[in-house]
Protein backbone atom coordinates (compact mmCIF):
# COMPACT_ATOMS: atom_id res chain seq x y z
CA UNK A 1 0.00 0.00 0.00
CA UNK A 2 2.06 2.75 1.34
CA UNK A 3 5.33 1.52 -0.08
CA UNK A 4 4.15 1.91 -3.58
CA UNK A 5 3.68 5.58 -2.92
CA UNK A 6 6.69 5.68 -0.74
CA UNK A 7 9.36 4.57 -3.09
CA UNK A 8 8.32 7.17 -5.54
CA UNK A 9 8.62 9.97 -3.06
CA UNK A 10 11.88 8.89 -1.54
CA UNK A 11 14.30 9.94 -4.20
CA UNK A 12 17.69 8.39 -3.88
CA UNK A 13 19.34 10.55 -1.28
CA UNK A 14 23.03 11.11 -1.75
CA UNK A 15 24.82 11.82 1.50
CA UNK A 16 27.60 14.35 1.29
CA UNK A 17 31.19 13.18 1.96
CA UNK A 18 31.46 15.79 4.68
CA UNK A 19 28.83 13.94 6.69
CA UNK A 20 30.80 10.72 6.23
CA UNK A 21 33.92 12.43 7.42
CA UNK A 22 32.15 13.79 10.48
CA UNK A 23 30.86 10.31 11.29
CA UNK A 24 34.33 8.85 10.87
CA UNK A 25 35.69 11.38 13.35
CA UNK A 26 32.84 10.67 15.76
CA UNK A 27 33.52 6.94 15.54
CA UNK A 28 37.21 7.38 16.18
CA UNK A 29 36.50 9.62 19.14
CA UNK A 30 34.03 7.02 20.41
CA UNK A 31 36.69 4.33 20.16
CA UNK A 32 39.18 6.44 22.07
CA UNK A 33 36.53 7.21 24.65
CA UNK A 34 35.61 3.60 25.20
CA UNK A 35 39.24 2.57 25.63
CA UNK A 36 39.79 5.40 28.07
CA UNK A 37 36.62 4.59 30.00
CA UNK A 38 37.72 1.00 30.47
CA UNK A 39 40.75 2.16 32.46
CA UNK A 40 38.63 4.12 34.88
CA UNK A 41 37.01 2.22 37.70
CA UNK A 42 33.31 2.99 37.55
CA UNK A 43 32.03 -0.19 39.14
CA UNK A 44 28.89 -1.52 37.53
CA UNK A 45 28.87 1.42 35.16
CA UNK A 46 31.91 0.22 33.26
CA UNK A 47 30.15 -2.32 31.04
CA UNK A 48 27.11 -0.09 30.76
CA UNK A 49 29.16 2.82 29.48
CA UNK A 50 31.11 0.57 27.13
CA UNK A 51 27.87 -0.78 25.68
CA UNK A 52 26.30 2.67 25.51
CA UNK A 53 29.24 3.97 23.49
CA UNK A 54 29.15 0.90 21.26
CA UNK A 55 25.41 1.36 20.69
CA UNK A 56 25.90 5.01 19.82
CA UNK A 57 28.64 4.14 17.37
CA UNK A 58 26.51 1.42 15.81
CA UNK A 59 23.57 3.80 15.52
CA UNK A 60 25.75 6.34 13.75
CA UNK A 61 26.95 3.73 11.29
CA UNK A 62 23.42 2.50 10.68
CA UNK A 63 21.92 5.95 10.26
CA UNK A 64 24.54 7.54 8.05
CA UNK A 65 26.91 4.99 6.53
CA UNK A 66 23.98 2.68 5.88
CA UNK A 67 21.69 5.55 4.87
CA UNK A 68 18.86 4.47 7.14
CA UNK A 69 18.16 8.06 8.11
CA UNK A 70 17.09 8.59 4.51
CA UNK A 71 15.47 5.20 3.95
CA UNK A 72 11.86 4.14 3.78
CA UNK A 73 9.75 3.31 6.82
CA UNK A 74 9.91 -0.31 5.79
CA UNK A 75 13.69 -0.42 6.25
CA UNK A 76 13.41 1.24 9.63
CA UNK A 77 10.72 -1.19 10.67
CA UNK A 78 12.84 -4.11 9.47
CA UNK A 79 15.78 -2.98 11.58
CA UNK A 80 13.51 -2.45 14.54
CA UNK A 81 12.19 -6.01 14.21
CA UNK A 82 15.73 -7.35 14.03
CA UNK A 83 16.89 -5.48 17.11
CA UNK A 84 13.72 -6.40 18.97
CA UNK A 85 14.11 -10.09 18.29
CA UNK A 86 17.82 -9.95 19.06
CA UNK A 87 16.93 -8.48 22.45
CA UNK A 88 14.20 -11.09 22.92
CA UNK A 89 16.66 -13.90 22.36
CA UNK A 90 19.17 -12.41 24.78
CA UNK A 91 16.63 -11.12 27.28
CA UNK A 92 14.44 -14.18 27.62
CA UNK A 93 17.38 -16.57 27.74
CA UNK A 94 19.15 -14.45 30.35
CA UNK A 95 15.90 -14.20 32.29
CA UNK A 96 16.00 -17.96 32.74
CA UNK A 97 19.62 -17.89 33.90
CA UNK A 98 19.12 -15.00 36.27
CA UNK A 99 15.95 -16.35 37.83
CA UNK A 100 17.57 -19.75 38.36
CA UNK A 101 19.58 -18.09 41.09
CA UNK A 102 16.38 -17.12 42.89
CA UNK A 103 16.04 -20.73 43.82
CA UNK A 104 12.93 -22.82 43.98
CA UNK A 105 9.99 -20.44 43.82
Amino acid sequence: MSEQVEHKEHEHHIVSPLVYLAILVALLVGTALTVWASYVDLGVWNPIIALAIACTKATLVVLFFMHVKYSSRLTKLTIFCGVFLFLTLIGMTLADYISRAWGQW
Partner: protein
Protein backbone atom coordinates in the same frame (compact mmCIF):
# COMPACT_ATOMS: atom_id res chain seq x y z
CA UNK B 1 -14.08 -70.58 17.19
CA UNK B 2 -11.81 -72.65 15.02
CA UNK B 3 -12.13 -70.25 12.13
CA UNK B 4 -10.41 -67.52 14.10
CA UNK B 5 -6.70 -67.68 13.67
CA UNK B 6 -5.02 -68.48 16.98
CA UNK B 7 -2.66 -65.53 16.57
CA UNK B 8 -5.51 -63.07 16.31
CA UNK B 9 -7.32 -64.82 19.12
CA UNK B 10 -4.32 -64.50 21.38
CA UNK B 11 -3.96 -60.95 20.34
CA UNK B 12 -7.55 -60.17 21.25
CA UNK B 13 -7.30 -61.91 24.60
CA UNK B 14 -4.13 -60.04 25.37
CA UNK B 15 -5.78 -56.82 24.40
CA UNK B 16 -8.83 -57.39 26.54
CA UNK B 17 -6.76 -58.31 29.58
CA UNK B 18 -4.11 -55.65 29.26
CA UNK B 19 -6.00 -52.71 27.95
CA UNK B 20 -5.52 -49.58 29.99
CA UNK B 21 -5.99 -45.93 29.16
CA UNK B 22 -3.74 -44.54 31.81
CA UNK B 23 -1.15 -45.96 34.18
CA UNK B 24 -1.84 -46.91 37.81
CA UNK B 25 -2.04 -44.08 40.27
CA UNK B 26 0.58 -44.93 42.83
CA UNK B 27 1.57 -41.60 44.29
CA UNK B 28 -0.12 -38.76 46.06
CA UNK B 29 0.28 -36.42 43.14
CA UNK B 30 -1.06 -38.89 40.58
CA UNK B 31 -4.80 -38.38 41.25
CA UNK B 32 -4.32 -34.61 41.20
CA UNK B 33 -2.45 -34.75 37.92
CA UNK B 34 -5.06 -37.11 36.49
CA UNK B 35 -7.87 -34.77 37.51
CA UNK B 36 -6.30 -32.02 35.44
CA UNK B 37 -5.56 -34.48 32.66
CA UNK B 38 -9.16 -35.65 32.48
CA UNK B 39 -10.43 -32.10 32.64
CA UNK B 40 -8.26 -31.32 29.64
CA UNK B 41 -9.38 -34.44 27.84
CA UNK B 42 -12.97 -33.42 28.46
CA UNK B 43 -12.41 -29.91 27.16
CA UNK B 44 -10.60 -31.30 24.14
CA UNK B 45 -13.39 -33.74 23.42
CA UNK B 46 -15.98 -31.00 23.64
CA UNK B 47 -13.92 -28.74 21.41
CA UNK B 48 -13.37 -31.50 18.89
CA UNK B 49 -17.06 -32.42 18.94
CA UNK B 50 -18.04 -28.82 18.32
CA UNK B 51 -15.73 -28.58 15.33
CA UNK B 52 -16.79 -31.93 13.91
CA UNK B 53 -20.47 -31.13 14.43
CA UNK B 54 -20.12 -27.75 12.78
CA UNK B 55 -18.30 -29.17 9.79
CA UNK B 56 -20.69 -32.10 9.39
CA UNK B 57 -23.83 -30.04 9.85
CA UNK B 58 -22.70 -27.37 7.41
CA UNK B 59 -21.58 -30.01 4.92
CA UNK B 60 -25.04 -31.56 5.00
CA UNK B 61 -27.05 -28.35 5.10
CA UNK B 62 -25.07 -26.39 2.59
CA UNK B 63 -23.85 -28.89 0.06
CA UNK B 64 -24.25 -27.82 -3.50
CA UNK B 65 -27.47 -29.71 -4.19
CA UNK B 66 -29.29 -28.28 -1.24
CA UNK B 67 -27.79 -24.87 -1.37
CA UNK B 68 -26.69 -24.06 -4.92
CA UNK B 69 -25.85 -20.39 -4.36
CA UNK B 70 -23.48 -19.41 -1.62
CA UNK B 71 -24.26 -16.39 0.50
CA UNK B 72 -21.23 -14.18 0.89
CA UNK B 73 -20.67 -13.33 4.56
CA UNK B 74 -17.87 -11.04 5.67
CA UNK B 75 -17.51 -12.48 9.14
CA UNK B 76 -18.80 -11.66 12.55
CA UNK B 77 -16.79 -9.84 15.15
CA UNK B 78 -19.09 -11.09 17.88
CA UNK B 79 -18.64 -14.73 16.94
CA UNK B 80 -14.91 -14.29 16.49
CA UNK B 81 -14.64 -12.64 19.88
CA UNK B 82 -16.56 -15.60 21.33
CA UNK B 83 -14.18 -18.16 20.00
CA UNK B 84 -11.20 -16.09 21.02
CA UNK B 85 -12.28 -15.51 24.57
CA UNK B 86 -13.72 -18.92 25.45
CA UNK B 87 -10.63 -20.91 24.40
CA UNK B 88 -8.39 -18.30 26.00
CA UNK B 89 -10.34 -18.57 29.24
CA UNK B 90 -10.16 -22.36 29.21
CA UNK B 91 -6.46 -22.34 28.40
CA UNK B 92 -5.82 -19.93 31.24
CA UNK B 93 -7.69 -22.17 33.67
CA UNK B 94 -5.52 -25.06 32.52
CA UNK B 95 -2.42 -22.92 32.86
CA UNK B 96 -3.17 -21.98 36.45
CA UNK B 97 -4.19 -25.50 37.40
CA UNK B 98 -1.12 -26.93 35.70
CA UNK B 99 1.18 -24.40 37.34
CA UNK B 100 -0.17 -25.38 40.75
CA UNK B 101 0.62 -29.02 40.06
CA UNK B 102 4.04 -28.16 38.71
CA UNK B 103 4.62 -26.22 41.90
CA UNK B 104 3.68 -29.24 43.98
CA UNK B 105 5.80 -31.70 42.03
CA UNK B 106 8.92 -29.62 42.35
CA UNK B 107 8.54 -28.28 45.87
CA UNK B 108 9.51 -31.04 48.29
CA UNK B 109 8.17 -30.92 51.82
CA UNK B 110 10.74 -30.11 54.49
CA UNK B 111 10.72 -33.57 56.04
CA UNK B 112 11.30 -35.45 52.82
CA UNK B 113 13.74 -38.32 52.87
CA UNK B 114 16.48 -37.72 50.35
CA UNK B 115 17.80 -40.33 47.95
CA UNK B 116 20.55 -39.52 45.49
CA UNK B 117 20.32 -40.83 41.97
CA UNK B 118 23.21 -40.78 39.53
CA UNK B 119 22.44 -41.38 35.87
CA UNK B 120 25.15 -42.64 33.56
CA UNK B 121 25.23 -44.34 30.22
CA UNK B 122 23.19 -46.58 30.65
CA UNK B 123 22.14 -47.21 34.19
CA UNK B 124 20.60 -45.55 37.19
CA UNK B 125 22.48 -45.70 40.46
CA UNK B 126 20.56 -44.88 43.60
CA UNK B 127 22.33 -44.02 46.83
CA UNK B 128 20.25 -44.29 49.96
CA UNK B 129 21.27 -42.27 52.99
CA UNK B 130 21.77 -45.51 54.87
CA UNK B 131 24.46 -46.53 52.43
CA UNK B 132 22.33 -48.92 50.38
CA UNK B 133 23.20 -48.86 46.68
CA UNK B 134 20.89 -49.93 43.94
CA UNK B 135 21.31 -50.17 40.22
CA UNK B 136 18.32 -49.76 37.95
CA UNK B 137 15.89 -50.10 40.78
CA UNK B 138 14.67 -47.98 43.59
CA UNK B 139 13.00 -49.13 46.79
CA UNK B 140 10.79 -46.61 48.50
CA UNK B 141 8.31 -46.84 51.36
CA UNK B 142 4.69 -45.82 51.16
CA UNK B 143 3.40 -42.87 53.10
CA UNK B 144 6.68 -41.03 53.24
CA UNK B 145 7.76 -38.10 51.11
CA UNK B 146 10.83 -39.07 49.11
CA UNK B 147 12.98 -36.49 47.44
CA UNK B 148 15.29 -37.52 44.64
CA UNK B 149 18.40 -35.49 44.01
CA UNK B 150 19.48 -36.32 40.50
CA UNK B 151 22.67 -35.79 38.60
CA UNK B 152 24.15 -37.24 35.47
CA UNK B 153 27.75 -38.22 34.94
CA UNK B 154 27.70 -37.86 31.18
CA UNK B 155 24.73 -36.84 29.05
CA UNK B 156 21.17 -35.77 29.76
CA UNK B 157 19.01 -38.54 31.21
CA UNK B 158 15.50 -38.33 32.47
CA UNK B 159 14.15 -40.17 35.48
CA UNK B 160 10.56 -41.05 34.74
CA UNK B 161 8.07 -42.95 36.86
CA UNK B 162 4.78 -42.97 34.95
CA UNK B 163 2.84 -44.50 37.84
CA UNK B 164 3.86 -41.59 40.03
CA UNK B 165 3.39 -39.01 37.22
CA UNK B 166 6.79 -37.55 37.94
CA UNK B 167 9.76 -37.09 35.70
CA UNK B 168 12.91 -35.06 35.96
CA UNK B 169 15.98 -34.68 33.82
CA UNK B 170 19.32 -35.69 35.26
CA UNK B 171 21.69 -33.05 34.00
CA UNK B 172 25.48 -33.26 33.85
CA UNK B 173 27.06 -30.83 36.24
CA UNK B 174 24.06 -29.81 38.28
CA UNK B 175 21.64 -31.27 40.81
CA UNK B 176 17.97 -31.35 40.02
CA UNK B 177 15.30 -32.53 42.41
CA UNK B 178 11.86 -34.04 42.32
CA UNK B 179 9.77 -35.61 45.03
CA UNK B 180 6.85 -37.97 45.43
CA UNK B 181 4.96 -39.85 48.06
CA UNK B 182 4.11 -43.39 47.05
CA UNK B 183 0.72 -44.67 48.10
CA UNK B 184 0.31 -48.17 46.74
CA UNK B 185 2.85 -50.99 47.23
CA UNK B 186 3.86 -52.68 44.02
CA UNK B 187 6.49 -52.68 41.31
CA UNK B 188 6.35 -49.92 38.73
CA UNK B 189 8.29 -48.95 35.65
CA UNK B 190 11.29 -46.71 35.76
CA UNK B 191 12.28 -45.27 32.37
CA UNK B 192 14.99 -43.03 31.09
CA UNK B 193 12.97 -40.81 28.80
CA UNK B 194 15.64 -38.48 27.50
CA UNK B 195 17.46 -40.02 24.58
CA UNK B 196 20.94 -40.80 25.87
CA UNK B 197 22.67 -42.95 23.29
CA UNK B 198 22.84 -46.52 22.07
CA UNK B 199 21.33 -48.39 24.99
CA UNK B 200 18.77 -45.71 25.81
CA UNK B 201 15.91 -48.16 25.66
CA UNK B 202 17.63 -50.47 28.12
CA UNK B 203 18.12 -47.79 30.73
CA UNK B 204 15.04 -48.98 32.52
CA UNK B 205 14.35 -50.39 35.93
CA UNK B 206 11.84 -51.02 38.65
CA UNK B 207 10.44 -48.79 41.29
CA UNK B 208 9.57 -51.07 44.19
CA UNK B 209 7.12 -49.53 46.59
CA UNK B 210 7.08 -51.29 49.97
CA UNK B 211 5.04 -50.87 53.07
CA UNK B 212 7.04 -49.13 55.81
CA UNK B 213 7.65 -52.44 57.58
CA UNK B 214 8.86 -54.17 54.45
CA UNK B 215 10.97 -51.16 53.66
CA UNK B 216 12.67 -51.33 57.02
CA UNK B 217 13.37 -54.96 56.40
CA UNK B 218 14.75 -54.22 53.00
CA UNK B 219 16.98 -51.49 54.38
CA UNK B 220 18.34 -53.83 56.97
CA UNK B 221 18.93 -56.61 54.46
CA UNK B 222 20.71 -54.55 51.88
CA UNK B 223 22.93 -52.41 54.04
CA UNK B 224 26.51 -52.16 52.91
CA UNK B 225 27.92 -51.59 56.35
CA UNK B 226 28.55 -47.90 56.19
CA UNK B 227 26.04 -45.15 55.71
CA UNK B 228 26.41 -42.62 52.94
CA UNK B 229 27.48 -40.01 55.44
CA UNK B 230 30.09 -42.37 56.82
CA UNK B 231 31.45 -42.91 53.34
CA UNK B 232 31.55 -39.16 53.02
CA UNK B 233 33.37 -38.88 56.27
CA UNK B 234 36.03 -41.26 55.08
CA UNK B 235 36.40 -39.28 51.90
CA UNK B 236 36.46 -36.05 53.88
CA UNK B 237 39.38 -37.41 55.80
CA UNK B 238 41.27 -38.91 52.91
CA UNK B 239 41.00 -35.69 50.87
CA UNK B 240 42.34 -33.82 53.91
CA UNK B 241 39.34 -31.54 53.94
CA UNK B 242 39.63 -31.38 57.71
CA UNK B 243 43.05 -29.81 57.44
CA UNK B 244 41.24 -26.52 56.89
CA UNK B 245 37.63 -27.22 57.71
CA UNK B 246 38.08 -27.84 61.36
CA UNK B 247 37.14 -26.08 64.50
CA UNK B 248 40.53 -24.84 65.51
CA UNK B 249 40.78 -21.11 66.07
CA UNK B 250 43.38 -20.79 63.31
CA UNK B 251 41.41 -22.88 60.83
CA UNK B 252 41.80 -21.67 57.25
CA UNK B 253 38.35 -22.75 56.22
CA UNK B 254 34.95 -22.27 57.78
CA UNK B 255 33.64 -24.95 60.02
CA UNK B 256 31.04 -26.98 58.22
CA UNK B 257 28.93 -27.89 61.21
CA UNK B 258 25.36 -26.84 60.77
CA UNK B 259 26.23 -25.17 57.51
CA UNK B 260 23.56 -27.00 55.57
CA UNK B 261 20.53 -24.83 55.06
CA UNK B 262 22.25 -21.75 56.44
CA UNK B 263 22.48 -18.50 54.59
CA UNK B 264 26.11 -17.71 53.93
CA UNK B 265 27.52 -14.29 53.13
CA UNK B 266 29.92 -14.46 50.19
CA UNK B 267 33.11 -12.52 49.58
CA UNK B 268 31.81 -11.60 46.16
CA UNK B 269 28.78 -10.02 47.77
CA UNK B 270 25.32 -11.32 48.41
CA UNK B 271 24.31 -14.35 50.38
CA UNK B 272 23.52 -17.84 49.33
CA UNK B 273 21.57 -20.64 50.92
CA UNK B 274 23.78 -23.68 51.39
CA UNK B 275 21.76 -26.42 49.74
CA UNK B 276 22.95 -29.57 47.99
CA UNK B 277 23.63 -27.72 44.78
CA UNK B 278 25.68 -25.08 46.58
CA UNK B 279 27.72 -27.65 48.47
CA UNK B 280 28.49 -29.48 45.26
CA UNK B 281 29.53 -26.25 43.56
CA UNK B 282 31.64 -25.25 46.55
CA UNK B 283 33.58 -28.49 46.35
CA UNK B 284 34.14 -28.36 42.59
CA UNK B 285 34.42 -24.60 42.00
CA UNK B 286 35.37 -23.31 45.44
CA UNK B 287 36.91 -20.00 44.43
CA UNK B 288 33.65 -18.68 43.12
CA UNK B 289 31.85 -19.38 46.36
CA UNK B 290 34.18 -18.07 49.02
CA UNK B 291 32.54 -17.38 52.34
CA UNK B 292 33.18 -13.97 53.77
CA UNK B 293 36.17 -13.81 56.03
CA UNK B 294 38.14 -16.58 54.34
CA UNK B 295 40.85 -16.51 51.74
CA UNK B 296 40.13 -18.21 48.39
CA UNK B 297 42.68 -20.92 48.99
CA UNK B 298 40.61 -24.03 48.63
CA UNK B 299 41.72 -26.14 45.66
CA UNK B 300 39.14 -27.46 43.26
CA UNK B 301 38.24 -31.10 43.47
CA UNK B 302 36.95 -31.30 39.94
CA UNK B 303 38.18 -34.46 38.32
CA UNK B 304 39.33 -35.90 41.66
CA UNK B 305 36.02 -36.93 43.12
CA UNK B 306 33.38 -38.90 41.26
CA UNK B 307 29.77 -37.81 41.37
CA UNK B 308 29.14 -40.56 43.90
CA UNK B 309 32.00 -39.19 45.97
CA UNK B 310 30.60 -35.69 45.85
CA UNK B 311 27.24 -37.06 46.90
CA UNK B 312 28.81 -38.80 49.87
CA UNK B 313 30.61 -35.60 50.86
CA UNK B 314 27.45 -33.56 50.54
CA UNK B 315 25.54 -36.06 52.60
CA UNK B 316 28.26 -35.99 55.22
CA UNK B 317 28.25 -32.21 55.43
CA UNK B 318 24.49 -32.21 55.59
CA UNK B 319 24.56 -34.42 58.61
CA UNK B 320 27.14 -32.40 60.49
CA UNK B 321 24.87 -31.00 63.12
CA UNK B 322 27.62 -30.23 65.53
CA UNK B 323 31.33 -30.15 65.45
CA UNK B 324 31.45 -33.47 67.11
CA UNK B 325 31.74 -35.32 63.81
CA UNK B 326 34.53 -33.10 62.60
CA UNK B 327 36.43 -33.72 65.74
CA UNK B 328 36.19 -37.38 65.09
CA UNK B 329 37.32 -36.94 61.53
CA UNK B 330 40.22 -34.90 62.72
CA UNK B 331 41.22 -37.76 64.93
CA UNK B 332 41.15 -40.11 61.99
CA UNK B 333 43.10 -37.65 59.89
CA UNK B 334 45.93 -37.70 62.32
CA UNK B 335 46.61 -41.24 61.35
CA UNK B 336 47.22 -40.13 57.80
CA UNK B 337 50.84 -39.26 57.04
CA UNK B 338 50.26 -35.79 55.53
CA UNK B 339 48.06 -34.58 58.35
CA UNK B 340 49.53 -31.48 59.87
CA UNK B 341 47.24 -31.14 62.83
CA UNK B 342 48.44 -31.14 66.37
CA UNK B 343 46.07 -32.00 69.09
CA UNK B 344 42.45 -31.35 68.27
CA UNK B 345 41.12 -28.21 69.80
CA UNK B 346 39.07 -28.85 72.79
CA UNK B 347 36.68 -26.02 72.30
CA UNK B 348 33.60 -27.17 70.50
CA UNK B 349 32.59 -23.57 69.71
CA UNK B 350 31.97 -23.03 66.03
CA UNK B 351 34.51 -20.75 64.47
CA UNK B 352 34.03 -18.05 61.93
CA UNK B 353 31.06 -16.61 60.22
CA UNK B 354 30.83 -19.73 58.13
CA UNK B 355 28.01 -21.16 60.10
CA UNK B 356 25.30 -18.73 60.79
CA UNK B 357 23.32 -21.65 62.01
CA UNK B 358 19.94 -22.82 60.93
CA UNK B 359 18.43 -20.04 62.98
CA UNK B 360 18.74 -17.69 60.01
CA UNK B 361 17.00 -20.16 57.81
CA UNK B 362 13.70 -18.40 58.27
CA UNK B 363 14.87 -15.41 56.27
CA UNK B 364 14.84 -17.18 52.95
CA UNK B 365 14.33 -14.86 50.04
CA UNK B 366 10.73 -14.98 48.86
Amino acid sequence: MDHISPVIWQFLVKWMTNFALFPPEASKIAPQMDALYFFMVLVSLIGLTVVVLLVTAFSILYNKERHPVAEQIEGSTLLEATWTIIPLGLFLVMFVWGALIYFRVFTPPANAMNIYVVGKQWMWKAEHPGGQHEINSLHVPTGRAVQLTLISQDVFHSFSIPAFRVKREAIPGRYTTVWFEATTPGTYHLFCTQYCGTEHSHMIGDIVVLTPEDYKKWLADSTSGASLAQNGERLFASLSCSACHNTRPDARGPSLAGVYGAKLPLTAGGTVTADDAFLREAILNPSQHVTQGYAPIMPTYQGQVSEEGVIALVEYIKNLDSNYRIQQTLNTTELLPESEGTAPAKSPAAKGSGSQGPATQGTVKP
